[in-house]
Symmetry: C2
Subunit: 205 residues, 2 copies
Protein backbone atom coordinates (compact mmCIF):
# COMPACT_ATOMS: atom_id res chain seq x y z
CA UNK A 1 0.00 0.00 0.00
CA UNK A 2 1.09 3.56 -0.71
CA UNK A 3 1.76 5.25 2.62
CA UNK A 4 2.35 8.99 2.89
CA UNK A 5 4.79 10.10 5.57
CA UNK A 6 4.51 13.87 6.04
CA UNK A 7 7.74 15.38 7.31
CA UNK A 8 8.45 18.83 8.74
CA UNK A 9 11.94 19.36 7.35
CA UNK A 10 12.59 22.87 8.72
CA UNK A 11 13.19 23.38 12.44
CA UNK A 12 11.47 20.14 13.43
CA UNK A 13 10.48 19.05 16.93
CA UNK A 14 10.69 22.46 18.56
CA UNK A 15 9.16 21.11 21.77
CA UNK A 16 12.28 19.01 22.25
CA UNK A 17 14.29 22.24 22.43
CA UNK A 18 14.48 21.95 26.20
CA UNK A 19 16.83 18.96 25.91
CA UNK A 20 18.13 18.99 22.31
CA UNK A 21 19.79 21.80 20.34
CA UNK A 22 18.67 22.61 16.80
CA UNK A 23 21.14 20.27 15.09
CA UNK A 24 20.18 17.46 17.42
CA UNK A 25 16.49 18.04 16.74
CA UNK A 26 17.25 17.77 13.03
CA UNK A 27 19.16 14.55 13.61
CA UNK A 28 16.55 12.87 15.74
CA UNK A 29 13.70 13.95 13.45
CA UNK A 30 15.51 12.38 10.48
CA UNK A 31 16.26 9.23 12.48
CA UNK A 32 12.59 8.89 13.40
CA UNK A 33 11.59 9.43 9.77
CA UNK A 34 14.04 6.66 8.86
CA UNK A 35 12.42 4.35 11.42
CA UNK A 36 8.94 5.02 10.03
CA UNK A 37 10.11 4.46 6.45
CA UNK A 38 11.83 1.23 7.46
CA UNK A 39 8.74 -0.01 9.31
CA UNK A 40 6.62 0.62 6.20
CA UNK A 41 9.16 -1.02 3.87
CA UNK A 42 9.63 -4.01 6.18
CA UNK A 43 5.86 -4.49 6.17
CA UNK A 44 5.95 -4.60 2.38
CA UNK A 45 4.46 -1.18 1.69
CA UNK A 46 5.45 1.82 -0.40
CA UNK A 47 6.20 4.83 1.78
CA UNK A 48 6.40 8.29 0.21
CA UNK A 49 7.79 11.23 2.10
CA UNK A 50 5.86 14.47 1.74
CA UNK A 51 8.27 17.06 3.11
CA UNK A 52 8.02 20.79 3.67
CA UNK A 53 11.49 21.24 2.16
CA UNK A 54 13.98 19.00 0.32
CA UNK A 55 15.31 16.10 2.39
CA UNK A 56 17.35 13.08 1.37
CA UNK A 57 15.78 9.76 2.25
CA UNK A 58 17.13 6.44 1.03
CA UNK A 59 14.72 3.94 -0.50
CA UNK A 60 11.67 6.21 -0.58
CA UNK A 61 10.56 8.97 -2.94
CA UNK A 62 10.32 12.48 -1.53
CA UNK A 63 7.89 15.14 -2.70
CA UNK A 64 8.24 18.69 -1.46
CA UNK A 65 4.92 20.28 -0.57
CA UNK A 66 5.04 23.40 1.55
CA UNK A 67 1.34 23.48 2.33
CA UNK A 68 0.23 22.75 5.89
CA UNK A 69 0.11 19.05 6.77
CA UNK A 70 -3.63 18.55 6.34
CA UNK A 71 -3.76 20.35 2.98
CA UNK A 72 -0.77 18.39 1.68
CA UNK A 73 -2.41 15.10 2.63
CA UNK A 74 -5.87 16.03 1.38
CA UNK A 75 -4.39 16.98 -2.01
CA UNK A 76 -3.47 13.31 -2.35
CA UNK A 77 -6.82 11.83 -1.19
CA UNK A 78 -9.93 11.13 -3.21
CA UNK A 79 -8.60 8.25 -5.27
CA UNK A 80 -10.05 4.79 -5.59
CA UNK A 81 -7.25 2.84 -3.92
CA UNK A 82 -6.55 2.77 -0.17
CA UNK A 83 -3.96 5.25 0.98
CA UNK A 84 -2.03 5.20 4.24
CA UNK A 85 -0.77 8.16 6.23
CA UNK A 86 1.73 7.69 9.05
CA UNK A 87 3.30 10.58 10.91
CA UNK A 88 7.08 10.81 10.78
CA UNK A 89 7.84 10.94 14.49
CA UNK A 90 6.88 7.40 15.48
CA UNK A 91 10.24 6.25 16.78
CA UNK A 92 8.64 3.06 18.12
CA UNK A 93 7.07 2.07 14.80
CA UNK A 94 7.68 -1.49 13.67
CA UNK A 95 6.57 -3.47 10.66
CA UNK A 96 4.17 -5.33 12.92
CA UNK A 97 2.54 -2.13 14.09
CA UNK A 98 2.19 -0.84 10.52
CA UNK A 99 0.69 -4.19 9.56
CA UNK A 100 -1.92 -3.87 12.27
CA UNK A 101 -2.96 -0.46 10.92
CA UNK A 102 -3.21 -1.76 7.38
CA UNK A 103 -4.98 -4.93 8.47
CA UNK A 104 -7.55 -2.88 10.40
CA UNK A 105 -8.53 -1.20 7.15
CA UNK A 106 -9.50 -4.53 5.60
CA UNK A 107 -12.89 -4.36 7.31
CA UNK A 108 -13.37 -0.61 7.42
CA UNK A 109 -13.33 2.43 5.19
CA UNK A 110 -11.05 4.33 7.52
CA UNK A 111 -8.58 2.86 10.00
CA UNK A 112 -7.24 5.21 12.66
CA UNK A 113 -4.29 4.85 15.01
CA UNK A 114 -4.82 7.39 17.78
CA UNK A 115 -1.90 9.29 19.20
CA UNK A 116 -1.61 10.33 22.79
CA UNK A 117 -3.59 13.32 23.91
CA UNK A 118 -6.11 13.15 21.13
CA UNK A 119 -3.85 13.18 18.12
CA UNK A 120 -3.90 10.96 15.05
CA UNK A 121 -0.70 9.13 14.20
CA UNK A 122 -1.82 6.82 11.45
CA UNK A 123 -4.67 6.45 9.00
CA UNK A 124 -5.59 4.14 6.19
CA UNK A 125 -8.24 5.74 4.03
CA UNK A 126 -10.35 3.73 1.65
CA UNK A 127 -13.17 6.20 1.06
CA UNK A 128 -13.25 8.88 -1.63
CA UNK A 129 -14.95 11.53 0.48
CA UNK A 130 -12.91 11.37 3.67
CA UNK A 131 -10.53 14.25 4.32
CA UNK A 132 -8.07 14.78 7.17
CA UNK A 133 -7.67 17.62 9.65
CA UNK A 134 -4.74 17.13 11.95
CA UNK A 135 -5.38 20.30 13.91
CA UNK A 136 -6.66 20.07 17.49
CA UNK A 137 -8.15 16.87 18.92
CA UNK A 138 -7.82 15.20 15.56
CA UNK A 139 -8.61 11.65 16.69
CA UNK A 140 -12.10 12.64 17.72
CA UNK A 141 -12.49 14.84 14.65
CA UNK A 142 -11.38 12.08 12.29
CA UNK A 143 -13.85 9.60 13.76
CA UNK A 144 -16.61 12.20 13.40
CA UNK A 145 -15.52 13.12 9.87
CA UNK A 146 -15.59 9.48 8.83
CA UNK A 147 -19.08 9.03 10.19
CA UNK A 148 -20.20 12.22 8.48
CA UNK A 149 -19.33 10.77 5.07
CA UNK A 150 -20.75 7.33 5.92
CA UNK A 151 -17.39 5.66 6.35
CA UNK A 152 -16.90 2.75 8.78
CA UNK A 153 -14.08 3.32 11.24
CA UNK A 154 -11.66 0.83 12.78
CA UNK A 155 -9.45 1.97 15.64
CA UNK A 156 -6.04 0.37 16.13
CA UNK A 157 -5.00 -0.21 19.73
CA UNK A 158 -1.21 0.21 19.54
CA UNK A 159 1.16 1.77 22.03
CA UNK A 160 3.84 1.92 19.34
CA UNK A 161 1.63 3.86 16.97
CA UNK A 162 0.25 6.06 19.75
CA UNK A 163 3.68 7.24 20.83
CA UNK A 164 4.61 10.21 18.70
CA UNK A 165 7.69 11.95 19.98
CA UNK A 166 6.98 15.59 20.74
CA UNK A 167 8.16 16.28 24.26
CA UNK A 168 11.21 15.36 26.33
CA UNK A 169 9.30 12.75 28.31
CA UNK A 170 8.53 10.96 25.05
CA UNK A 171 12.25 10.38 24.56
CA UNK A 172 12.20 8.02 27.53
CA UNK A 173 9.78 5.81 25.59
CA UNK A 174 12.26 5.72 22.71
CA UNK A 175 15.04 4.57 25.04
CA UNK A 176 12.72 1.96 26.55
CA UNK A 177 11.01 0.55 23.48
CA UNK A 178 12.69 1.86 20.33
CA UNK A 179 14.42 -0.61 18.06
CA UNK A 180 15.63 1.61 15.23
CA UNK A 181 17.81 4.57 14.33
CA UNK A 182 16.23 7.06 16.71
CA UNK A 183 16.75 4.73 19.65
CA UNK A 184 20.36 4.17 18.60
CA UNK A 185 20.97 7.90 18.17
CA UNK A 186 19.43 8.68 21.53
CA UNK A 187 21.11 5.80 23.33
CA UNK A 188 24.52 7.24 22.49
CA UNK A 189 23.68 10.53 24.17
CA UNK A 190 21.11 9.87 26.86
CA UNK A 191 20.24 7.31 29.47
CA UNK A 192 17.07 6.72 31.43
CA UNK A 193 16.67 8.79 34.56
CA UNK A 194 15.03 6.35 36.91
CA UNK A 195 14.77 8.72 39.84
CA UNK A 196 11.57 9.77 41.57
CA UNK A 197 8.25 9.86 39.77
CA UNK A 198 7.89 8.98 36.10
CA UNK A 199 11.02 7.96 34.27
CA UNK A 200 12.88 10.66 32.34
CA UNK A 201 16.16 11.00 30.48
CA UNK A 202 19.59 12.35 31.40
CA UNK A 203 22.41 13.28 29.10
CA UNK A 204 25.21 10.72 29.29
CA UNK A 205 28.54 11.76 30.82
CA UNK B 1 -7.76 -17.54 33.45
CA UNK B 2 -7.37 -16.32 37.00
CA UNK B 3 -6.37 -12.64 36.86
CA UNK B 4 -5.21 -10.76 39.94
CA UNK B 5 -6.16 -7.10 40.12
CA UNK B 6 -4.18 -5.40 42.89
CA UNK B 7 -6.01 -2.39 44.33
CA UNK B 8 -4.79 0.38 46.59
CA UNK B 9 -7.94 0.95 48.64
CA UNK B 10 -6.66 3.66 50.99
CA UNK B 11 -6.02 7.18 49.67
CA UNK B 12 -5.63 6.01 46.06
CA UNK B 13 -4.37 8.04 43.12
CA UNK B 14 -2.67 10.76 45.13
CA UNK B 15 -1.09 12.25 42.01
CA UNK B 16 -4.58 13.17 40.82
CA UNK B 17 -4.90 15.40 43.87
CA UNK B 18 -4.23 18.47 41.78
CA UNK B 19 -7.61 18.11 40.07
CA UNK B 20 -9.64 15.73 42.26
CA UNK B 21 -10.39 15.88 46.00
CA UNK B 22 -9.97 12.79 48.19
CA UNK B 23 -13.55 11.57 47.77
CA UNK B 24 -13.31 12.00 44.02
CA UNK B 25 -10.06 10.09 43.90
CA UNK B 26 -11.78 7.27 45.78
CA UNK B 27 -14.66 7.36 43.33
CA UNK B 28 -12.56 7.36 40.18
CA UNK B 29 -10.23 4.66 41.51
CA UNK B 30 -13.22 2.40 42.20
CA UNK B 31 -14.71 3.17 38.80
CA UNK B 32 -11.44 2.22 37.11
CA UNK B 33 -11.27 -0.97 39.14
CA UNK B 34 -14.81 -1.72 37.96
CA UNK B 35 -13.73 -1.19 34.34
CA UNK B 36 -10.80 -3.56 34.71
CA UNK B 37 -12.96 -6.22 36.38
CA UNK B 38 -15.58 -5.86 33.65
CA UNK B 39 -12.96 -6.15 30.91
CA UNK B 40 -11.66 -9.37 32.47
CA UNK B 41 -15.15 -10.80 32.96
CA UNK B 42 -16.24 -9.83 29.45
CA UNK B 43 -13.18 -11.64 28.09
CA UNK B 44 -14.29 -14.76 29.96
CA UNK B 45 -11.70 -14.69 32.74
CA UNK B 46 -11.82 -14.83 36.53
CA UNK B 47 -10.62 -11.59 38.08
CA UNK B 48 -9.71 -11.48 41.77
CA UNK B 49 -9.17 -8.22 43.58
CA UNK B 50 -6.20 -8.14 45.93
CA UNK B 51 -6.83 -5.00 47.97
CA UNK B 52 -4.87 -3.22 50.68
CA UNK B 53 -8.09 -2.80 52.70
CA UNK B 54 -11.67 -4.09 52.44
CA UNK B 55 -13.54 -2.92 49.35
CA UNK B 56 -16.85 -4.02 47.90
CA UNK B 57 -16.70 -5.22 44.32
CA UNK B 58 -19.59 -6.90 42.56
CA UNK B 59 -18.95 -10.14 40.68
CA UNK B 60 -15.37 -10.65 41.81
CA UNK B 61 -13.83 -12.04 45.01
CA UNK B 62 -11.76 -9.65 47.12
CA UNK B 63 -8.81 -10.64 49.26
CA UNK B 64 -7.27 -8.12 51.65
CA UNK B 65 -3.48 -8.23 51.65
CA UNK B 66 -1.72 -5.27 53.16
CA UNK B 67 1.73 -6.17 51.87
CA UNK B 68 3.29 -4.01 49.17
CA UNK B 69 2.03 -4.73 45.66
CA UNK B 70 4.95 -6.87 44.51
CA UNK B 71 4.98 -9.00 47.67
CA UNK B 72 1.23 -9.53 47.49
CA UNK B 73 1.46 -10.69 43.87
CA UNK B 74 4.53 -12.85 44.42
CA UNK B 75 2.81 -14.65 47.30
CA UNK B 76 0.35 -15.91 44.67
CA UNK B 77 2.90 -16.95 42.03
CA UNK B 78 4.77 -20.22 41.68
CA UNK B 79 1.88 -22.42 40.72
CA UNK B 80 1.56 -24.61 37.68
CA UNK B 81 -1.27 -22.78 35.92
CA UNK B 82 -0.94 -19.44 34.12
CA UNK B 83 -1.84 -16.44 36.25
CA UNK B 84 -2.70 -12.96 35.03
CA UNK B 85 -2.02 -9.66 36.76
CA UNK B 86 -3.66 -6.47 35.58
CA UNK B 87 -3.30 -3.17 37.40
CA UNK B 88 -6.51 -1.56 38.63
CA UNK B 89 -6.16 1.86 37.02
CA UNK B 90 -6.59 0.92 33.37
CA UNK B 91 -9.66 2.99 32.61
CA UNK B 92 -9.31 2.20 28.92
CA UNK B 93 -9.23 -1.57 29.40
CA UNK B 94 -11.57 -3.58 27.20
CA UNK B 95 -12.22 -7.28 26.83
CA UNK B 96 -10.37 -7.15 23.53
CA UNK B 97 -7.28 -5.68 25.15
CA UNK B 98 -7.33 -8.27 27.93
CA UNK B 99 -7.72 -10.96 25.30
CA UNK B 100 -4.62 -9.75 23.51
CA UNK B 101 -2.60 -10.00 26.74
CA UNK B 102 -3.86 -13.51 27.42
CA UNK B 103 -3.38 -14.57 23.80
CA UNK B 104 0.20 -13.32 23.84
CA UNK B 105 0.95 -15.76 26.63
CA UNK B 106 -0.04 -18.70 24.44
CA UNK B 107 3.41 -18.69 22.83
CA UNK B 108 5.47 -17.39 25.75
CA UNK B 109 6.17 -18.06 29.39
CA UNK B 110 5.59 -14.45 30.34
CA UNK B 111 3.46 -11.90 28.49
CA UNK B 112 3.99 -8.26 29.41
CA UNK B 113 1.88 -5.21 28.67
CA UNK B 114 4.14 -2.21 29.20
CA UNK B 115 2.79 0.94 30.78
CA UNK B 116 3.90 4.39 29.87
CA UNK B 117 7.18 5.59 31.25
CA UNK B 118 8.59 2.16 31.90
CA UNK B 119 5.85 0.69 34.03
CA UNK B 120 4.17 -2.70 33.77
CA UNK B 121 0.39 -2.72 33.50
CA UNK B 122 -0.33 -6.33 32.73
CA UNK B 123 1.35 -9.71 32.95
CA UNK B 124 0.44 -13.28 32.26
CA UNK B 125 2.87 -15.58 34.00
CA UNK B 126 3.24 -19.21 33.02
CA UNK B 127 6.58 -19.97 34.63
CA UNK B 128 7.11 -21.19 38.19
CA UNK B 129 10.26 -19.20 38.87
CA UNK B 130 9.24 -15.76 37.63
CA UNK B 131 8.58 -13.11 40.26
CA UNK B 132 7.39 -9.52 39.86
CA UNK B 133 8.89 -6.24 41.04
CA UNK B 134 6.73 -3.27 40.18
CA UNK B 135 9.15 -0.74 41.62
CA UNK B 136 11.07 1.55 39.28
CA UNK B 137 11.37 0.89 35.55
CA UNK B 138 9.51 -2.36 35.99
CA UNK B 139 8.96 -3.11 32.30
CA UNK B 140 12.67 -3.40 31.68
CA UNK B 141 13.16 -5.24 34.96
CA UNK B 142 10.42 -7.75 34.19
CA UNK B 143 11.88 -8.54 30.77
CA UNK B 144 15.30 -9.05 32.39
CA UNK B 145 13.84 -11.12 35.22
CA UNK B 146 12.08 -13.37 32.74
CA UNK B 147 15.27 -13.93 30.78
CA UNK B 148 17.15 -14.61 34.00
CA UNK B 149 14.90 -17.58 34.76
CA UNK B 150 14.88 -18.78 31.15
CA UNK B 151 11.35 -17.62 30.41
CA UNK B 152 10.31 -16.53 26.91
CA UNK B 153 8.73 -13.08 26.83
CA UNK B 154 5.97 -11.71 24.62
CA UNK B 155 5.27 -7.99 24.66
CA UNK B 156 1.76 -6.73 23.97
CA UNK B 157 1.53 -3.54 21.93
CA UNK B 158 -1.62 -1.93 23.33
CA UNK B 159 -2.36 1.73 23.93
CA UNK B 160 -5.30 0.72 26.12
CA UNK B 161 -3.17 -1.44 28.36
CA UNK B 162 -0.32 1.08 28.40
CA UNK B 163 -2.52 3.88 29.69
CA UNK B 164 -2.60 3.64 33.45
CA UNK B 165 -4.19 6.68 35.02
CA UNK B 166 -1.83 8.37 37.44
CA UNK B 167 -1.67 12.03 36.51
CA UNK B 168 -4.17 14.69 35.48
CA UNK B 169 -3.12 14.51 31.82
CA UNK B 170 -4.05 10.81 31.82
CA UNK B 171 -7.65 11.80 32.54
CA UNK B 172 -7.86 13.33 29.07
CA UNK B 173 -7.20 9.86 27.64
CA UNK B 174 -10.12 8.53 29.67
CA UNK B 175 -12.44 11.19 28.25
CA UNK B 176 -11.16 10.46 24.74
CA UNK B 177 -11.07 6.66 24.70
CA UNK B 178 -12.76 5.30 27.82
CA UNK B 179 -15.91 3.24 27.40
CA UNK B 180 -16.71 2.29 30.98
CA UNK B 181 -17.56 3.59 34.42
CA UNK B 182 -14.52 5.80 34.84
CA UNK B 183 -15.21 7.57 31.56
CA UNK B 184 -18.85 8.03 32.54
CA UNK B 185 -17.90 9.34 36.00
CA UNK B 186 -15.38 11.73 34.52
CA UNK B 187 -17.61 12.85 31.68
CA UNK B 188 -20.17 14.16 34.16
CA UNK B 189 -17.60 16.42 35.79
CA UNK B 190 -14.97 17.29 33.21
CA UNK B 191 -14.63 18.09 29.56
CA UNK B 192 -11.65 18.13 27.26
CA UNK B 193 -9.63 21.30 27.24
CA UNK B 194 -8.67 21.62 23.62
CA UNK B 195 -6.66 24.80 23.99
CA UNK B 196 -3.03 25.24 23.11
CA UNK B 197 -0.56 22.35 23.27
CA UNK B 198 -1.56 18.88 24.36
CA UNK B 199 -5.16 18.34 25.27
CA UNK B 200 -6.11 18.56 28.95
CA UNK B 201 -9.27 18.57 31.01
CA UNK B 202 -11.43 21.30 32.53
CA UNK B 203 -14.06 20.98 35.18
CA UNK B 204 -17.53 21.35 33.71
CA UNK B 205 -19.61 24.40 34.63
Amino acid sequence: MRILVPFEAVDPKTRLGEVLDADERDDVARAMLRDVIDACLDAGHDPEVVATAPVEVADAPVTVDDRPLSAAVNARLGGTTPLGVVVADLALATAGAVDRLVDAAADADVAVAPGRAGGTNGLVIDHRDFRVDFHGVSYRDHVAAARAVGADVAVVDSMRLSTDVDEPTDLAEVLLHGEGEAAAWLGKRFELDTGEGRVGIDRVG
